[in-house]
C-alpha cells in the first residue's frame, strides 16, 4: 500500500490548480480539506486500500474531462467495485458532509465530470461488466463503466445493437450516457439515451439502493428513472443499467447532396420530414466545414456547395430503395446540384468520413471551440445568417455542422489561443450563439449537457422560479447539495461566464475519437 508522504499532514489548501480557473466553484470546504487523511482512511475501510487514490500523480488522471479549458484535481479519488461499496461511500460522505463527484470515462464536453478541490471523486471504471443479455426481453443488464460501443459489440452477432451512438462511443461509459442523456447520429430515428434505458439501480446520498424501472415497459409510481436520466450526476450514483436492445436493420443506404444555398438544404430537410420519412441520420455541413473536411480527407464533397446533406436510411432493402428515390426527388426539387447515392459500403463510409472528420479538419485550421444548441429546424437559415453576422462582428471564423434532422447545431468557433483576447472573444461569441438558440425557440444544449460550461447561461432559458423548482427536486434527492456541486445551476457568485470545449493546435484530450 502506497501512502502519500504528506498524507498525515493536513494541507490547508487543496492541490494547486493546473491552470487558473475562470470559473467560480462553491466555496472551498476547508474543514473537509483538513480532514483529508481521515476521509481517505474511512474510504479505505469501505472499499479497500487499493481503491483509494491519494497521491497527486494518481489524481492527475482525473483533473479534467472533455472540456479541457478547466482542470482541477480532486481532494481524493475512490474506485469502488460493488453497489454495496458505493452505498457505504455515499452514506459516509453524506453523514460527514463531504462533496462527491461521480465520474465515468471523463469525456463530458460540458465539464460535468470536473472535480472539486474539496471533494471525493467516485470513479466507476471498475464497474465494467455486462451482467446479463436477455434477448427474449430485448434488453441487457450492464454495469455503468461499460463503454457504449461494447454493448453493441456484445450483441451484434445475434442481430441486435444498442441504438444511441455518441461519437465518443468507443470511450464513453453507459453511466455517463445515462447522466448526460447522450445522443448520437442515429437518435433521430432511434431516440436518445432516455428512450433506450429501461431501468437503473441508483444509490442515493444517504446510501439507499433504489431500483428504478426494470425489464417491464413501465413500473408503478413516479417516473424517477426519467428524471435521473440526464441529471448529470446530481441526484445519485447509477451502479447498474438495463438497456434496450434493438434488432439491427437489414440494410443501410446513404446519399450525399450538395446545395447552392443554405435555404435549399434546410427546406430539403423540412420536406423529407414532412414526407413522413424518418431517416436514420440526417446531417448538414456548411460551406466552410465542407471545404475543411474535403481538404483533410478527400471524401469527394462538392467544395463549391453552400451546404451539404448526408441522409442515411435503414430498413428492409425494399424500403431503402423506395425512400432513396423519394429523397433524391425532394433534393432536386430544392435545387440540389449534386445528388449521389452510395453504391456500396465503401462509398457510404467515404460519405461519412468527411462528416466524421469535420471537427479535426477544422482543428487543422486553428483552435476552435465547439457549441451545442438546438433550434426549431425552420429557423436554420436565419440562425446561420445571424451566426455569419456575429462572425464578422467578432472577427472570428465559424464552421457549422449539424444534426439537421433534430435541429441540433454544433458551430465551431475558430480563434487563435495565442492572440491576446481571442479566447475571450470566442467565448463571448459562443454564448451569443446559445442565447440566439433560446431566442428563436430552442435550447442551450441538445446533447452535451449543462455541466459547468452552460451553468451561468441557464437564466437565458429559465426564470428564477423555473430554476428554484429544479433545485427543489435536487434537494429532494440530495438536501445538502453534496453530489456533483457547482454543476448545472448558475453559481450565485459567478465571476466569469462559461468555459467551453477549446481545442488547441488541433489537439484535444480525446483526439482519437471521431467527432460529430
Amino acid at each position: 500500500m502506497f501512502k502519500h508522504p504528506n498524507a498525515d499532514i493536513a494541507p490547508l489548501t487543496a492541490f494547486p490548480l493546473a491552470r487558473p480557473m475562470a470559473l467560480t466553484m462553491p466555496e472551498l470546504d476547508r474543514v473537509a480539506i483538513s480532514r483529508r487523511a481521515e476521509i481517505a482512511a474511512a474510504l479505505r475501510v469501505i472499499a479497500g486500500a487499493n481503491a483509494v487514490i491519494e497521491h497527486e500523480d494518481g489524481l492527475r488522471t482525473f483533473e479534467t474531462d472533455g472540456l479541457t479549458a478547466y482542470a482541477q484535481m480532486p481532494m481524493l479519488a475512490v474506485l469502488p467495485q460493488t453497489t454495496a461499496e458505493v452505498a457505504a461511500i455515499l452514506k459516509w460522505c453524506g453523514e460527514n458532509r463531504v462533496k462527491i463527484m461521480p465520474r465515468g470515462a471523463g469525456t463530458s464536453l460540458s465539464g460535468g465530470a470536473l472535480p472539486l478541490a474539496d471533494g471525493v471523486l467516485l470513479g466507476l471504471g471498475r464497474f465494467n461488466r455486462i451482467l446479463e443479455i436477455d434477448y427474449a426481453n430485448r434488453c441487457a443488464v450492464v454495469q455503468p463503466g461499460v463503454t457504449n460501443l461494447s454493448i453493441t459489440q456484445a450483441v451484434q452477432d445475434e442481430g441486435f445493437f444498442y441504438a444511441p451512438d455518441p461519437s465518443s462511443q468507443i470511450a464513453c461509459s453507459i453511466g455517463g450516457n445515462v447522466a448526460e442523456n447522450s445522443g448520437g447520429v442515429h437518435c433521430l430515428k432511434y431516440g436518445l439515451t432516455t428512450h433506450n434505458v429501461l431501468g437503473v439501480t441508483l444509490v442515493t446520498i444517504d446510501g439507499e439502493i433504489v431500483t428504478l424501472g426494470g425489464k417491464a415497459y413501465d413500473s408503478p409510481g413516479y417516473d424517477l428513472l426519467g428524471v435521473v436520466i440526464g441529471s448529470e450526476g446530481l441526484l445519485g450514483v447509477v451502479t447498474e443499467v438495463i438497456v434496450r436492445l434493438t434488432p439491427a436493420p437489414e440494410c443501410t443506404r446513404a446519399a450525399l447532396m450538395g446545395f447552392p444555398t443554405v435555404e435549399g438544404a434546410a427546406q430539403c430537410v423540412a420536406d423529407i420530414m414532412a414526407a413522413g420519412i424518418v431517416p436514420a441520420g440526417l446531417e448538414m455541413m456548411d460551406g466552410f466545414a465542407i471545404r475543411a473536411a474535403e481538404d483533410f480527407v478527400h471524401a469527394g464533397y462538392p467544395t463549391e456547395a453552400a451546404a451539404l446533406l448526408i441522409v442515411e436510411l435503414d430498413g428492409p432493402e425494399a424500403e431503402c430503395e423506395h425512400l432513396l428515390a423519394e429523397v433524391q426527388t425532394i433534393a432536386r426539387n430544392n435545387g440540389a446540384d449534386t445528388v449521389r447515392v452510395a453504391k456500396d459500403e465503401a462509398e457510404r463510409a467515404r460519405f461519412w468520413a468527411g462528416r466524421k472528420a469535420a471537427f479535426p479538419a477544422v482543428g487543422r485550421i486553428g483552435d476552435y471551440y465547439c457549441m451545442d444548441g438546438t433550434i426549431p429546424r425552420r429557423e436554420l437559415p436565419g440562425v446561420l445568417a445571424r451566426i455569419g453576422e456575429m462572425s464578422k462582428t467578432y472577427g472570428l471564423g465559424v464552421a457549422n455542422v449539424f444534426h439537421a434532422g433534430d435541429g441540433n447545431l454544433h458551430p465551431l468557433v475558430l480563434y487563435n489561443a495565442n492572440a491576446p483576447g481571442q479566447l475571450e472573444a470566442a467565448e463571448a461569441f459562443g454564448a451569443d450563439i446559445l442565447r440566439l438558440c433560446v431566442e428563436v425557440g430552442g435550447v442551450l444544449t441538445g446533447e452535451h449537457g449543462v455541466g459547468v460550461e452552460k451553468r451561468d447561461l441557464m437564466p437565458a432559458m429559465f426564470n428564477a422560479v423555473d430554476l428554484a423548482v429544479q433545485e427543489d427536486l435536487k434537494a429532494a434527492f440530495d438536501p445538502n447539495f453534496l453530489l456533483n456541486p457547482g454543476k448545472v445551476f448558475p453559481n450565485l457568485h459567478r465571476c466569469a461566464e462559461a468555459g467551453r470545449v477549446h481545442v488547441h493546435g488541433g489537439k484535444t484530450r480525446f483526439s482519437h475519437l471521431p467527432r460529430f
Partner: protein, 381 residues
C-alpha cells in the same frame, strides 16, 4: 364529489386558485376530460375540483417541425383531427378510456393522457406518452407558475421534468400548457393474424417477431375458443410493409392459420385493443399487469380459466378482468415475474413499491407540493 368545481382560463387564474386552496387548507383534484376519473379509483377527500376544460387551444403547430403546443385541457379529438389534416399523429397512440371507466368517449384531453402517461399498442415501437412529452408550463403546489423542458426534440438543459410529470396523475403540479412531439402517419397499415396457436407458440411468435427488424408496431394475444388469436401490426411505406408482412406470415404459418388484413380493419382493431374494448364492457375489476414481455406467457397461464385477459405489448401488458369472486392474487403473479399489477377499475388498493422508492417519491412530491394541496392518487403517491 359534490365539491366546488373551478375551471380556470389561464395559468394565472389557476395559480391563484391553488394558492387560495393552500391558504384555506383545501385539497384539489385535477380533472381533464374526466374520461379516466374511474381509472385507478377516485382521488379521496378533495374539496375543490380544478377542471382544465378552459385551458384549451392549440397554441402552436408547425407540421414541418413535428412539434405541437396546446393548452393542457385541449381535447385529443381536436388535436387528432388537426394532425390528420397534415398526415401526422401522436406517436404514442393515446387510448380513449372514456367508455371503459364510466366517462364519455371523446372527452380525453392532451394534458390528461400525459399526466396519466397512457399509451396504446404502438408503445412497443414508438415509446410511451412520456417519450413524446417535450416540455410544459405548470402550476406547482406552491401556487407558482413554472416551465421545464423545451419545444424541440433534442434538449438536455436542466432536469427532464416532463418525464416526472408524465404519470404523476395531477399530484405534483397542474399542467397548463404542454408541448409534444408528433410523428408522420404511416402510409399503409397491415395486420397479420395468427389463429389457433397454443399460448406458448403464440407468445413465442411475438417474442421472435419483436427480435427481428420487422418494425412490429402492435403485438397482441387474445384468448379464443380455439386457442389464441395473435395479431401483429406492420406500418410504413407500401413496399416495406409488403415485404415485412410476407416474411412474418411465412414465419407464423407452422403455428396455425394466418390471415393478412387491411388498413381499415387495422384501424378499428387496434383502437379497440388500446381501449381494452373486449374487456371494458364487462363488469368486474379490471387489472393492468406490466411485466417483462417474454413473461407474459407465465401470467396468461396463471390467470387463464379464472379470468378474462388480453396480452398486449408483445406480452408486456396483460389486462385481466377478474370476476368479483375470483381469488387470483394478481400482484403476486406479476411480482413473481418481475412486474407489477395495478387494479384500475374496482376498489383500488395502494400499489406496493419498494420502500426506498416510496420514500424518495414522498420527498419528490413534497418538493413540488409541500402543503399536500393536490389530492393523492393510489397509483402514485
Amino acid at each position: 364529489m359534490g365539491q366546488r368545481i373551478e375551471s380556470p382560463t389561464g395559468a394565472f387564474e389557476a395559480a391563484e386558485l391553488i394558492a387560495g386552496a393552500v391558504a384555506d387548507g383545501q385539497r384539489i383534484e385535477i380533472i381533464g376530460g374526466g374520461s379516466k376519473r374511474g381509472y385507478g379509483g377516485p382521488a379521496p377527500g378533495a374539496d375543490l375540483t380544478l377542471w382544465t376544460a378552459r385551458l384549451g387551444g392549440i397554441l402552436h403547430y408547425d407540421p414541418q417541425e413535428m412539434v405541437l403546443t396546446a393548452g393542457a385541457g385541449e381535447k385529443l379529438s381536436a388535436i387528432d383531427a388537426l394532425l390528420a389534416e397534415h398526415n401526422q399523429m401522436l406517436g404514442f397512440e393515446p387510448p380513449d378510456f372514456g367508455a371503459a371507466f364510466g366517462g364519455e368517449a371523446g372527452e380525453t384531453t392532451l394534458g390528461g393522457v400525459l399526466a396519466a402517461n397512457l399509451s396504446g399498442p404502438r408503445r412497443i415501437a414508438s415509446g410511451a406518452a412520456r417519450d413524446h412529452f417535450l416540455g410544459f408550463e405548470a402550476v406547482s403546489g406552491k401556487g407558482q407558475i413554472f416551465k421545464a423542458g423545451g419545444k424541440v426534440f433534442k434538449n438536455v438543459t436542466g432536469f427532464d421534468l416532463p418525464k416526472l410529470m408524465a404519470g404523476s396523475w395531477g399530484t405534483l403540479a397542474l399542467l397548463t400548457e404542454v408541448t409534444v412531439k408528433v410523428v408522420p402517419k404511416p402510409k399503409t397499415t397491415t395486420t397479420v393474424i395468427l389463429r389457433g396457436a397454443s399460448f406458448q407458440n403464440a407468445t413465442g411468435a411475438m417474442t421472435r417477431a419483436m427480435g427481428q427488424p420487422l418494425a412490429v408496431s402492435g403485438a397482441v394475444m387474445l384468448p379464443t375458443l380455439k386457442g389464441t388469436q395473435t395479431a401483429f401490426r406492420l406500418e410504413g411505406f407500401g413496399p416495406s410493409v409488403e415485404v415485412r408482412a410476407e416474411r412474418l406470415a411465412a414465419q407464423l404459418e407452422p403455428f396455425g392459420e394466418v390471415e393478412v388484413r387491411d388498413a381499415a380493419f387495422s384501424e378499428n382493431f387496434w383502437r379497440d385493443i388500446g381501449r381494452v374494448a373486449p374487456l371494458a364492457s364487462e363488469p368486474g375489476s379490471l387489472w393492468r399487469l406490466s411485466v417483462p414481455p417474454a413473461t407474459g406467457l407465465d401470467v396468461v397461464r396463471a390467470v387463464d380459466g379464472a379470468a378474462a385477459w388480453i396480452a398486449d405489448w408483445a406480452g408486456g401488458l396483460v389486462w385481466v378482468l377478474a370476476a368479483p369472486d375470483a381469488t387470483l392474487d394478481l400482484p403476486a403473479i406479476a411480482a413473481a415475474v418481475g412486474g407489477s399489477a395495478l387494479k384500475v377499475r374496482g376498489e383500488v388498493s395502494e400499489v406496493s413499491r419498494q420502500p426506498a422508492h416510496a420514500a424518495l417519491s414522498g420527498l419528490v412530491r413534497a418538493a413540488f407540493d409541500p402543503h399536500g394541496v393536490f389530492a393523492s392518487r393510489a397509483m402514485v403517491a
